[in-house]
């Protein structure tokens, strides 16, 4: 605490001031954006805390309050998550959500660490998880009360349509990528190419319409299909095209020597693909695959257009409750926070994988 430190501190300050004065544009920008950031932060804090109605207050206070209505969150969170699923049975959608989140996080962590369980075991776990999800949601077995699919709402619908569609789309996408990568069977090569390009040239909403309205028409007379299953099938075929392109770009990036070496070892096409090409191609394509996954996960919320009640639909149902005035912002913020958390996790995986890929490239270079 001598004069020396003070003078250094002062020297720093004056240097900083001089630097600011020497570039007025940047300083003004700093000031303006600082003002903007502070205003925004203040507005958020004010809405969330200072002008908000506390959770235990009387909900009627929400009508006049300028801030957030915490009682709404306290009361309606459960409804936004599970919608109109029978109240006493809501442990079932909760269990399904936890199961699917658990499977996704386990898969994500395996991707990040690069240490995969046996591929057959992983696939088996996913298939078991998918079967368990539908059994738990629908009931009718093991003494569970049957619940009509129209009452499957909220988070489990979002998770079923995103995680299950993506889990099933990945193998389809890999097969499509192989079909397009190989050139020995020319018509297969062309057909796979045409399929992928058409899927990627149309909006996802059109595919959802095809699933709900056209798919039932293409089934034999007298067979009915639930809209959730129809949408799931449409999503699998849609996402598969994007995955196929990611995997194919990984395949194209492999040196031709890999293929030739496998052939000279006497490996057949499937052995070459399974043992030599795909492991390397998928490793390379991982960051792109994660990107596609994030896009597909976010786009799953488009099913609300088809009248399936995912989170944004249950949010709308929650704030349309006339007993509560209009808490649209609260309801959508709830959904937004869920997406921010889950997408941030996926983005984190993507960044880790990209960093690892960059490190791998540096090492091999």
């Amino acid at each position: 605490m001598s004069g020396a430190t003070q003078s250094i501190g002062f020297g720093r300050l004056s240097a900083w001031l001089l630097r600011q004065l020497s570039r007025p544009g940047a300083s003004l920008l700093s000031l303006a954006s600082g003002g903007l950031v502070l205003t925004l932060l203040w507005a958020i804090a004010d809405w969330l805390v200072f002008s908000a109605v506390p959770p235990l207050a009387d909900p009627s206070a929400c009508v006049e309050a300028a801030g957030a209505c915490w009682p709404f969150w306290a009361e309606k969170s459960r409804f936004i998550l599970f919608g109109t699923y029978p109240f006493d049975e809501q442990w079932r959608p909760m269990l399904v959500s936890l199961l699917l989140i658990g499977l996704s996080i386990a898969t994500g962590q395996m991707a990040v660490s690069g240490r995969w369980l046996n591929i057959k075991l992983t696939a088996g776990l996913w298939l078991a998880g998918i079967a368990a999800s539908f059994a738990l949601m629908g009931g009718g077995i093991l003494g569970l009360v049957p619940v009509d699919a129209t009452r499957w709402n909220g988070l489990p619908i979002l998770l079923i349509l995103s995680t299950i569609a993506l889990a099933l789309a990945l193998p389809v996408g890999v097969l499509l990528a192989l079909a397009r990568y190989q050139t020995r069977h020319r018509l297969l090569h062309r057909a796979a190419g045409a399929y992928v390009e058409i899927m990627r040239g149309v909006p996802m909403v059109t595919l959802l319409f095809v699933g709900v309205f056209v798919l039932p028409l293409t089934l034999p007379k007298g067979t009915a299909i639930d809209p959730i299953i129809a949408v799931l099938i449409a999503l699998v075929f849609f996402h598969a095209a994007y995955f196929a392109e990611d995997v194919r770009s990984g395949l194209m990036a492999l040196p031709a020597g890999q293929h030739e070496a496998a052939s000279s070892l006497g490996l057949g096409f499937w052995q070459t693909a399974r043992l030599v090409l795909l492991p390397q191609a998928i490793e390379r394509a991982m960051p792109a695959l994660v990107n596609s996954t994030i896009g597909a996960y976010k786009d799953t919320s488009l099913v609300v257009i088809l009248g399936l009640h995912d989170l944004s639909a249950t949010a709308r149902m929650a704030f349309s409750d006339v007993a509560w005035g209009n808490q649209a912002l609260e309801a959508y913020v709830f959904v937004g926070v869920w997406f921010l958390i889950s997408c941030s996790y996926l983005s984190w995986i993507g960044r880790r994988l990209a960093a690892r890929a960059a490190k791998g490239r540096n090492r091999s270079a």
């Binding site: 700093s30 954006s33 149309v202 996802m204 028409l217 649209a328 937004g336 921010l340």
Partner: protein
């Protein structure tokens, strides 16, 4: 994060082909595809005839019978389904263009902020980009829509801000008064001005290639914007008066109305894709090695010259392909308009399906239109960007 289309010329088809023209596998695959199509066709036919509907596209000429809330091409409930689909297509293109403009402006501003020297500006841009990358676009759209409908005044208390009249039903702008000559003037200018600018730019480029002399392009373009409509107006004797929106009881008369649905879709997609464009630009700018800028400074180039001659050309080369993807994605994403009831192509198709119970035919038409739009857009953009890259490449050597 939206999906990416492949770079334009990445698709090389592997090793050279050998063997006979048609192999056994081709025949097998062909038969399998044919069988699948035949099965689907048979099922569709039997399902539709069971419902008393004859499959086919004849319904397109029938009277649609539903009205659209807003149209750019003249359309009424007594017009045909074909015309309804065309009106929806025009609406799709209109909202795509509007959101494209917003997305480019937002993306450019945020992209520049995210590489600025002001840490707080960088923080703001980063927070914005992260927020929009991690939210579904439909949620963004629904929030903006509900905020606009609840937050903006009802039409009787419409807010008048200079030339704008803002209500929660529509935003009204002054517009050329309703006169066929004014419409002709507007459409003709929209075609002729870009055509003349394109011709002049081509001429200037050829001249520079031949003689090394630069012809003024930007000033001429600005002049054309004034001269062409002026000449046309005189030739057509267009009345040219502006019609101002005025509040009359329960409605606003005069001017043009941009419905709140149109505005929210344009703003939502604009903000959403703005974040992605900002990210693309940031990547492109950060990819320029700092040595380039130092070298430019060492050569004595001023800051503006460095930006224009050294930085921008290199940024353009890296950002143009991903930007093309963004534009194609934006076009496809306009199909979420149906969630707020804007009459775009997808929502016209949805209504047509409900009324005719012809989902197969309607979706075939709709998806073909989207596919065609996408192919044309990416084709044009890729052609254009290939030219930019070729030119930059030649200049660079």
């Amino acid at each position: 994060m939206d999906r990416k289309l492949p770079p334009p010329h990445a698709a090389h088809d592997g090793p050279p082909k050998t063997g006979p023209a048609v192999s056994l596998s081709d025949i097998g695959v062909g038969l399998a595809i044919l069988a699948a199509f035949a099965l689907v066709a048979f099922n569709v036919h039997s399902n539709m005839t069971a419902a008393g509907i004859q499959p086919g596209f004849g319904f397109l000429t029938q009277q649609a019978g539903f009205d659209l809330s807003e149209t750019l091409v003249p359309y009424g409930a007594s017009d045909s389904y074909l015309r309804a689909i065309l009106a929806g297509l025009a609406n799709t293109i209109a909202v795509a263009l509007a959101s494209l403009v917003i997305a480019c402006i937002a993306g450019l501003l945020l992209g520049l902020l995210s590489v600025s020297t002001a840490p707080l500006a960088r923080f703001f841009a980063l927070a914005y980009v992260e927020l929009f990358r991690n939210l579904p676009k439909i949620l963004v759209l629904l929030v903006i829509f509900i905020a606009a409908v609840n937050g903006l005044p009802a039409i009787r208390q419409a807010l008048v801000l200079g030339p704008f009249t803002i209500s929660n039903r529509a935003i009204y702008l002054p517009w050329l008064s309703d006169d066929p000559r004014n419409t002709t003037l507007l459409l003709a200018s929209l075609v002729l001005v870009p055509a003349f600018i394109w011709l002049w730019a081509g001429r200037a480029a050829r001249r520079q290639a031949l003689t090394g002399r630069r012809l003024p392009v930007l000033p001429v373009a600005f002049a054309l914007f004034i001269v062409v409509p002026g000449v046309l107006a005189t030739a057509l004797q267009a009345p040219l008066g502006l019609s101002w929106p005025t509040l009359e009881g329960f409605s606003v008369e005069g001017g043009i109305a941009l419905s709140i649905q149109f505005c929210t879709v344009a703003v939502a997609l604009g903000l959403y894709h703005g974040a992605q464009i900002a990210e693309v630009l940031r990547g492109g700018i950060e990819a320029v090695p700092s040595g380039q800028i130092e070298a430019a400074a060492a050569l004595g180039l001023r800051s503006g010259q460095t930006t224009r001659l050294v930085v921008v050309p290199q940024v353009l080369r890296t950002v143009v392909p991903p930007l093309n993807n963004q534009f194609a994605n934006l076009l496809k994403n306009t199909s979420i308009s149906i969630a707020v009831g804007y009459s775009d192509l997808m929502s016209v198709a949805g209504t047509a399906i409900n009324q005719t119970f012809r989902p197969l035919e309607t979706m075939l038409i709709t998806m073909s239109i989207y596919l065609l739009l996408c192919l044309v857009l990416t084709g044009v953009l890729n052609h254009w960007s290939a030219r930019i890259r070729a030119r930059e490449g030649r200049d660079g050597r």
